[in-house]
């Protein structure tokens, strides 16, 4: 019985990590109109930055062995800085060109991580990474600790993004997305606004990357294959792009469903079939949503329906 709960906690943790990533992407793509495929790249930058800064390992040439909290802060700042560097040249480009640039960035990051083994340990990567509170609980119950951390992170990020989405800044984002010339004609700065969005996303992705590392417990380049960005995008599109709850619902449906398939693994034979079924389920799910509900299960409309009340009810 306990086994099921342990398993469920682990699935939920992954769901929440993806939900957080999809929430950040919603901010960027849903309101900011940035077609970003670089999520995997930035997550890799964050994860490696965190591990290199905190790991107790003498094999790499630079290991300051910072405490966990300092590692997280430095990682957020560094990932935000990388986003800034990527954003300056790429944000001047339009939709699909921006998409290609961020995609390329992801690929380059993976390549760099694989080749620079003096600091990243190359394709081998790091194993048995130390996690906070590891010494206090058994490995089995650690799943619950991690679920707590992931839940906390998701709530903070969700509240933060919702706050920004409803603020005047969020309104400018949607305005720029809807009509760039009109936004210019009322004096909005397109490039600067987008750069802010991109850097904020970078900082947030950096902040949750350690949770992903703790979840997997090891770190190697293949964890950050570009398909990760596609999965986050799919979750967002299924749930409802632009809606506050869309990314969370999408992650629950997509990750929950594919991970729950492990329940059905009675034999090795089944396992192979089920592993092959996962991309099929994602694909079919995406087609069904696109066909019958292109705005996603929860459309954006409902998110800002009462935008005016935010101001007017305060009389």
């Amino acid at each position: 019985m306990i086994g099921i709960f342990v398993f469920l906690a682990s699935v939920l943790t992954l769901v929440f990590i993806y939900a957080a990533l999809a929430t950040i992407l919603n901010f960027e793509a849903g309101w900011g109109g940035l077609w970003d495929l670089g999520t995997a790249g930035l997550l890799a930058v964050g994860a490696y930055c965190y591990v290199i800064l905190t790991v107790e390992n003498n094999e790499i040439i630079f290991a300051p062995q910072l405490p966990v909290w300092a590692g997280i802060i430095c990682t957020s700042v560094f990932t935000g800085f990388v986003a800034y560097l990527i954003g300056i040249p790429s944000l001047r480009m339009k939709d699909e060109y921006f998409l290609i640039t961020t995609f390329a960035f992801s690929v380059v990051v993976l390549q760099l991580i694989t080749t620079e083994s003096s600091i990243t340990l190359g394709a081998t990567g790091f194993h048995n990474i130390k996690r906070p509170f590891d010494d206090f609980v058994t490995t089995r119950s650690y799943n619950f600790v991690l679920l707590g951390i992931a839940t906390f992170a998701l709530i903070i990020i969700w509240l933060f993004i919702r706050r920004i989405g409803r603020s005047p800044f969020g309104r400018v984002l949607r305005a720029i997305r809807d009509n760039e010339p009109a936004a210019k004609s009322i004096g909005k700065l397109i490039f600067v606004t987008r750069l802010k969005v991109f850097v904020i996303s970078g900082v947030l992705i950096g902040a949750i990357s350690p949770i992903y590392v703790w979840y997997i417990r090891s770190l190697s380049p293949h964890m950050f294959h570009v398909t990760l960005a596609f999965t986050v995008w799919t979750a967002l599109v299924i749930g409802g792009i632009g809606n506050f709850w869309g990314p969370i619902l999408g992650a629950i449906i997509l990750i929950g469903l594919t991970e729950a398939l492990q329940f059905l693994q009675y034999s090795a034979e089944y396992a192979v079939i089920l592993a092959a079924a996962r991309p099929v389920i994602i694909g079919v799910g995406l087609i069904v949503v696109m066909r019958f509900r292109p705005q996603g299960i929860l459309p954006e409309k409902n998110s800002f329906k009462n935008a005016r009340n935010f101001v007017d009810l305060q009389n």
Binding site: I164, F169, R171, R174, D178, P181, S185, G187, L189, V311
Partner: protein, 255 residues
């Protein structure tokens, strides 16, 4: 003169869209810009408002040379424009559309979003009050919560004008505001334009509806093939031979 363009030249490939176009707009006036299709009227607007770069010439607005500035910077100096096809943020409500232009850069920082609710709301309320006043004045209150993409083209034009007015301009450039309007709405538009003028905002107007524009403007420029072929007060311009040949056509004038 609040706005002066001097020998503006703009080529699109081999096509001379503007060919030494020089106009000047007096402060607090309503000035018209007419001309046949393809005369370069919209290109001239785009050049003045920074949406098109110019090949040569100069644009002086209110003591600044704006020929090389970005649209957003030109708006901050007090020059704003509307578009030939009414433009807006289609997924956002009419209220949000106008709020977006009424709130300032300072309020729109992401860090301001994290400041206490009370602070943001107080600032937003000030802008929101102005939005409601404007919508009330032009009889558009019914549309306040409708998405911009779902209102009629006539309302879109009015909302767009209000949105641009929220940037507190010194001059407003209007690109064919009356196109697609019936007689009732033409009267509404005329009242609106006259009200804007009374607020101390200079207006430069492109329009194809000659009875409408010649009735309302104090001075008019006629553009053809990228250059000014005539200018004057409306009652004189309709008698000008060159203008008649190029644009109005003989029958229209004799009647």
């Amino acid at each position: 003169m609040i706005l002066e363009t001097n020998n503006l030249v703009k080529n699109f490939g081999g096509v001379k869209a503007l060919h030494s176009a020089s106009i000047s707009v007096a402060k607090d006036s309503i000035t018209g810009l007419i001309g046949p299709n393809g005369a370069g009227k919209t290109t001239l607007f785009n050049a003045i408002s920074g949406f098109t770069t110019i090949d040569s010439g100069s644009i002086r607005f209110d003591g600044h040379e704006v020929g090389k500035l970005e649209p957003s910077n030109i708006v901050k100096l007090g020059l704003t424009r509307t578009f030939q096809t009414p433009s807006g943020f289609s997924s956002m409500s009419v209220w949000e559309n106008i709020m977006a232009s009424g709130s300032d850069y300072y309020l729109e920082s992401p860090f301001k979003a994290l400041s206490p609710n009370i602070f943001l709301r107080r600032k937003e309320k000030i802008v929101s009050k102005k939005v409601s006043e404007m919508l009330e004045r032009f009889d558009l209150m019914d549309f306040i919560d409708k998405p911009f993409g779902e209102i009629s083209i006539v309302e879109m034009r009015f909302v767009e004008i209000i949105r641009q007015l929220m940037t507190s301009p010194k001059i407003l450039l209007m690109d064919e505001p009356a196109s697609g309007f019936g007689p009732d709405n033409l009267d509404r538009l005329r009242d609106m334009i006259l009200w804007i003028k009374d607020e101390g905002i200079t207006i430069l107007l492109i329009e194809h509806n000659l009875p409408f524009i010649l009735n309302i403007v104090e001075y008019v420029y006629v553009l053809a093939n990228g250059e000014v072929i005539g200018e004057g007060i409306p009652s004189e311009i309709i008698k000008d031979k060159v203008v008649i040949e190029n644009y109005i056509g003989k029958q229209n004038v004799s009647s």
